[in-house]
Structure formats: structure tokens, C-alpha cells
Amino acid sequence: MPLDGGVSCLRRSEMIGIGIGELESPPLDSDQVHVLAVDDSLVDRIVIERLLRITSCKVTAVDSGWRALEFLGLDDDKSSVEFDRLKVDLIITDYCMPGMTGYELLKKIKESTSFREVPVVIMSSENVLTRIDRCLEEGAEDFLLKPVKLADVKRLRTYLTRDVKVSDRNKPKVPEDLSRFSSLAMVTPPPPPPPSITSVKSSSLEEIVSSSPPPSESSISPVDSPIRRMEMRSPGLD
């Protein structure tokens, strides 16, 4: 089968073979967004890789937090050297992984000098508010509820331009209004993403964030409330 540089045309055995370690796209075109995807599940890696490639990202997919750090050159404790060739525009990681969780990986990335500006998105199959809060407080850009859909990835794309990285520096760490994360809709059915986010250009992201209400008592409902409804998905045909 012809190899188009992506995973999708490979035979199963080949997919499994390279799925254990890394799934890597051909050499980086500097204009293309490069995403590092981290997930211990092979099935999820294949899916997220495809989702990202369909939205015109270059993808490197690894199966653990350790491999991610290795890839980023953060795996030893010496002060990191700038890897000029290594442009990572987004890191998307599963939360629940053996060894190093996505949260721990997030912390290490935010502690590094070279990669702390890179937006990190956490994925999880569980809609646990405390978990979400922890991640956002630690500087995660967004939190996606699994299973991840094309619309979720497309939404990530809208704020992922080269310019956004610059304005990110001034962004407060905790987004106060969780309703902007459409994958965490607190009522069913999930509302479409607010227009201000999907059409955002890099400069307006800062405006949106700075105009949010100041951090206060969480207006988010407790865990036992409507959020749990997210777990009950209706079958494909309603």
C-alpha cells in the first residue's frame, strides 16, 4: 500500500510495530503546526494522530510521559539546550497513564525553560472537576473529554497559530469560565463553542481571557450534578 507519510495507510502489523514507540510524520515543514501527542493506548494514539493530521498538523505520537520528555530533550535534569530543529506547537496528552500521568508531564513541561510556553492540552475519559481544576491551575490550555472528536481538534486549531504563543505569556493560568470548553458541557446536549472562541484570532484571545470575571468562588456545580450526565451518551440514533 502506498505510504503517504501518515499512519493510516500502513498495514496493521506495521502500525503495531511503530505504535509501540513513536508514530512520526515526515520531516517538519516549518510552517506547519507540529503536535506532540502522548497516550499509552495504541488505539487512541492512532485516532488522535489521524484527527490531528486531518486538521493539517504534523504529529509525533509517543506512548508515555517519559518518551515525551525524551523527545523534548527534557529527560535529564541538566538545564535544557535549545533544540532549534524541534518546534513543538502543542502538546496533547492523556491524563491517566501508567508511570507518569499527564498531570505530571504537564508540570515538567511548565517547569522547563524551553517548553513552558507551549500550550498543553489534557485528555481524559473522566469528567472529574478536581482533576480538571488541577490541570488548568498547573497551566493546561484546555481539557478534552474522551473520546475526542474532530470538532474538538478543530477547536484547538483555531487558537493554535504561531502568534498565540507570544500572547500566551501574559495569559492568566486559570481560565475562570469553564463553559468555554465545549467538550465539558454542563448541560445536555453540549452547546456549540461560543463564537468568540472559534473565530478568535491570536490577539483577541488575550482580550477574551482578560475580560473574564476575576477568580472567585467557583461557579461550577459540584461533581454529583449535571456533569455526570456527560457519561451517558445517547446511542448514535436518537
Binding site: 503517504d4 501518515g6 491517566c96 472528536k149 451518551r233 446511542p235 448514535g236 440514533l237
Partner: protein
């Protein structure tokens, strides 16, 4: 190309796919996966579900071993297996398998070995059933392509 034959096959395909949703085998995430397939990657869905079924087989085997001896069940291992199975079934839209995993997890949480064994049996049954159904579906796809037609994009909902 025999357009009558193609149209017939396409209709068959559509009806079969819709029935899989109606009977609860598949959910919306399967639809999402189909969106990721195109002429350049005609086997994407088949490849992903194939990996999923391999996963099922492997995880079921290891959980079966963990549940093997009543006096020394490793519930942690079983829980880990269920978690992985639930995750991947959710990612491919394998609704029935996923739902069994939810019950399975509950049995694990209370260390109910009997319950776990029942769930294990059920999850084994469900994934094999789905595998057969999807094989038939992919077969229909192949027939359509071989007859010179294209796979219909079906809007569920």
C-alpha cells in the same frame, strides 16, 4: 459499472449500518471515525477496529488469568484492564462493549469476583459479536468498491 447493482449494495450497506446503531452496537464515536476516512485512507476504520479487537483479546486473556484463582485475585490488574478496555471501546464507538465495562468496573470496585467473571464473559461475547458484524459491514464496503461504486456517507441523527 452496473449502477443498479451498486445502488442495491449501497442501500444494503446503509440499512446494515443503521441497524448496528439502532441495536446499540455502535454509537456516535463510530460516526466520528468514519469521518476520518477518505479515498486516500479507505481502510482507516477497519485498521483501527482491528487494533481494538486485538486489544480486547489480549486484555480479556490477562484479566482472565488475574481472576483465575479465587484465593488470589489481582483486582488492581483487572481494574487496569477494564479501564483500558473501556477507553478503547469508547474511542471506536463500540457501545455495548463499553457498557459492559461500566458494570465490570463496578464489580471490580467491590471486589466481586463472580460478578467480574460474568462481565468478562459478557465482554468477550460482545466484542466477538461486534467483530462479526463489522466484518460483514466492511465486506459490503468492499463489494461496493469492487462494483465501481463509492461508500455512502451516512448521516446518523
Amino acid at each position: 459499472m452496473n449502477t443498479v447493482v451498486v445502488a442495491q449494495l449501497q442501500r444494503q450497506f446503509q440499512e446494515y449500518l443503521v441497524s448496528l446503531y439502532q441495536q446499540g452496537f455502535l454509537d456516535n464515536q463510530f460516526t466520528e471515525l468514519r469521518k476520518l476516512q477518505d479515498e486516500g485512507t479507505p481502510d482507516f476504520v477497519a485498521e483501527v477496529v482491528s487494533l481494538f479487537f486485538d486489544d480486547c483479546s489480549k486484555l480479556i486473556n490477562s484479566m482472565s488469568r488475574s481472576l483465575g484463582r479465587p484465593e488470589s485475585v489481582d483486582f488492581k490488574q483487572v481494574d487496569s484492564g477494564v479501564h483500558q478496555l473501556k477507553g478503547s471501546s469508547s474511542s471506536v464507538g463500540a457501545r455495548r462493549v463499553k457498557n459492559v465495562c461500566i458494570s465490570f468496573k463496578e464489580c471490580c470496585d467491590v471486589q466481586n469476583r463472580e460478578g467480574c467473571l460474568r462481565c468478562l464473559q459478557q465482554v468477550d461475547y460482545e466484542y466477538k459479536m461486534l467483530k462479526t458484524k463489522l466484518e460483514d459491514l466492511f465486506n459490503l464496503e468492499q463489494q461496493i468498491l469492487q462494483a465501481g461504486g463509492t461508500i455512502p456517507q451516512i448521516n446518523i441523527n
